[in-house]
Subunit: 234 residues, 2 copies
DNA sequence: CGTCCATTTGATCAGGGTCAAGACGAGTGG
DNA sequence: CCACTCGTCTTGACCCTGATCAAATGGACG
């Protein structure tokens, strides 16, 4: 099993610049876990015992508000780290992580992070680069929410998902895990009703094809146009 | 001057756990800069030559969209780091930083960061803790934008500013730097008109007192109530 | 004193949330 | 194999929040 894992892992951007021997030492301390669709990887407010690397599947990171709303913070794809609360000086996880599809993850005890960070500077640098890009993403989200209409936000969300997890099929590009109207609504700060209406309209125009927990983008090009419209105001 | 700086700096949370001798070595490599109100500290897309510590004043961090909108990402107060693109693997600044009031900052060349990070692990840990809390803030912003009404968002924004930069005066708590309706609108994703109406309404109710680029929160307690209203939905 | 900018306030209107009802599809148990 | 049930999705009708348009007022500063 370890050998199989190692071959999968060697190419990941998190481990760029790390010597093979070191990689073995790192991976050797992880345990590999299978998580079924719908199960949680970790939960908000829970003590952050471990951090994770997603090897296969997709994870939805959700924050719940006291008022009972749920907001999807991001989707994690294969090769990404998650639950790295420890690296950011937190002792608890900031959100829930739900398996959107069956997943395989590697888990390390959180207390290993400080050692890893000092022993493997590249790992540390790669990780913080990833944190930086997540901070960027979050700010981009804020900007979108502040300046764009719902239609643009939903279009952008689909394009982001396509970029991150798109899989070419004959009809177009499939978002490669089950995703409902409700899920998309939680990513874009709207309601499932509005998402449904938009997808229906786009389907009529031939931009997308969608069904139960399934979205295929047929014409990404034209969807980009939709995503960029309206925002003019100069 | 160095001695003056050092006494100011010793207590800052960024430097917690750092030996005095080390502190000298760190601060010794910075140059101190004065920046007048309205001037920029660094600019979006610019090459990140330096990172900064704000000693005095307030800095508004703004992102501009291609469409010409401006969104205020955050306000930086005394004691906070900014422009730490390098620590996050970026080579350019992600936003504009404008002095909201006259400022004094320390600036280090970006290339010093890697050395600092390895030589002073506490500095690194403190910095990434701060990055973590900014990531949190950004996610909180997204959640607020997704689930709250404008009124709650503006109330929350004021409370945040009060917490961060509030100064007690006889009438209540003053937000201790010039801030316009437009600025508040850019923080909350609304228009200056709506902010003006809200402040007027709150002034009638005795919650706040405000004037030209000046806001005093008279009854924080009741403002908290406003901030938490509406969001019910079980 | 005049000009510029921040602010106020009114009137209008539409984007999209809410309420309501049904249709469709998938899995389950008989 | 079929009926049933539950969850997802669709679609219509209505209405409210807050953006937009428009204009006036009031300080601050040269």
């Amino acid at each position: 099993m370890a050998s199989l894992d190692r071959s999968l892992i060697a190419g990941l951007s998190v481990f760029e610049g790390i010597a093979v021997a070191d990689l073995d030492r790192i991976v050797g301390q992880a345990r590999s876990i299978r998580i079924a669709r719908g199960q949680s990887v970790f939960e908000q407010e829970q003590e952050a015992r471990s951090f994770f690397l997603l090897l296969d599947g997709h994870v939805r990171v959700v924050k719940s508000t006291p008022a009972g709303h749920e907001v999807t913070v991001r989707y994690i794809g294969p090769g990404e780290l998650m639950g790295i609360a420890g690296a950011l000086g937190r002792t608890t996880y900031p959100a829930n992580a739900l398996a959107a599809a069956d997943c395989v993850v590697l888990a390390w005890p959180s207390h290993l992070w400080p050692t890893f960070a000092t022993s493997f500077p590249s790992l540390s640098a790669n990780t913080y680069r990833m944190v930086g890009s997540r901070l960027q993403d979050a700010h981009t989200r804020v900007i979108e929410m502040s300046t764009e209409q719902v239609e643009q936000r939903v279009a952008n969300a689909l394009l982001k998902l396509v970029k991150q997890s798109g899989k070419k099929i004959e009809e177009g590009i499939l978002i490669d895990f089950p995703i409902s109207r409700q899920d998309i609504a939680e990513m874009t700060g709207t309601t499932l009703h509005t998402v449904s209406r938009l997808l229906s309209a786009w389907e009529d125009q031939g931009l997308v094809k969608s069904g139960r927990q399934r979205v295929v983008v047929v014409e990404p090009h034209r969807l980009v146009v939709v995503a960029e419209a309206r925002g003019s105001k100069s």
